[in-house]
Amino acid sequence: MFVLIVGGGKVGSYLTRALVGQGHEVVIVEKAERKARLLEQLLERNVTVVGDGCDPLVLEQAGLKRADVVIADTGDDEDNLVVCLITKKNSTAKCIARVNNPRNKLIFDSLDEKNPVTTISSTEVILDAIHKHVTAAPVSS
């Protein structure tokens, strides 16, 4: 599979390492050149495209048209939303997006009802874990 990742932060770099290890083809789009170079050193692979992943031309250059999966994992919901908008417009790839504000999930859901964007909110995951912990804990009286 060809996976396109936008955002070369911690999540992006660990994802790349794991996906490459599984034999997938991966390209990471990262705005900061220094960060991109560090990533290449770390991964010992030429997998980065330096540029703004919210720019349709940069995504096209990175291979958006032939991508099977696009992962929007920058730290900003608005940037991830734009990555999904461009992907939905220009390719048939499966979209996965990181969403910080759980409320924003609804907006990502509204982009494509047939082939919905998969959203992952760590805020929500933690909230769920707390909720489970609280409900599982014996009530002390």
Binding site: C54, P56, D79, V82, I86, S110
Partner: protein
């Protein structure tokens, strides 16, 4: 009308003051409380501190009852996200977002969001000033490079027909204003002095169009 403005920068604050002065109810949202200083003492509207891409912040700001929504933060991505929240979660009818990137502006328009692109409009206005253009850029179509221009008919051209100024595929005259009345142009419409024409002009024909309405300059110091 109740208008909700996200982003209290130069454009946001100026627009807020304009709408407020026109008697509208205006609410301005910005992350930075200091930004509201731009609104000045006379502003009668409301301000809300918070990010414009948060449902709860917009709800608190009264988005559910807003007639119009304007996203003018300094980030294109924030503006489109705020606009989508306004459209899909609050069902606000009129939504305008400022998008600096013309390509993306066009894409967002397909989503039902009106976009204003100061990049294209600004560049065209600067070009017009630079070329001492005898027209005003009325409206810039930022989804293409085609420009809508107005020019005034000179005495020397009175009696000419619309077709005399048209160039197939490059210059098309759309409308004519004579005094206060405006009509749609026909090929054989005869033009009078000081009639104002509105033309749709292709980028490669702009200087040609300019020449038709600029008096030929007599070079200084000749003869």
């Amino acid at each position: 009308m109740r208008y909700l403005i996200v982003g209290c920068g130069r454009v946001g604050s100026t627009l807020a003051k304009l709408l407020d002065a026109d008697g509208h109810e205006v609410i301005v949202v910005d992350e930075d409380p200091n930004a509201f200083k731009r609104l000045g003492q006379k502003f009668k509207g409301h301000v809300v501190v918070g990010t414009g891409i948060d449902y709860d912040v917009l709800k608190h700001a009264g988005a559910a009852q807003a007639d119009g929504f304007i996203a003018v933060t300094n980030g294109d991505n924030r503006n489109v996200m705020a606009a989508l929240i306004a459209q899909r979660m609050f069902h606000i009818k009129k939504i305008v977002a400022r998008i600096y990137d013309p390509t993306r502006g066009m894409m967002y328009r397909e989503l039902g969001i009106d976009t204003v692109c100061p990049t294209t409009t600004g560049a065209k206005m600067i070009r017009d000033v630079l070329m001492e253009a005898p027209w005003d850029t009325l409206q810039s179509f930022d989804f293409g490079k085609v420009t809508s221009l107005t020019a005034t008919i000179r005495a020397a051209d009175a009696g000419k027909r619309v077709s005399d100024f048209e160039r197939a595929g490059r210059i098309r005259i759309a409308a004519i204003r004579t005094g206060k009345s405006v009509r749609v142009a026909a090929n054989d419409t005869v033009l009078a002095e000081s009639d104002e024409i509105n033309a749709i002009v292709a980028p490669e024909a702009i200087s040609e169009f300019a020449q038709m309405f600029t008096d030929a300059r007599v070079p200084e110091g000749v003869g």
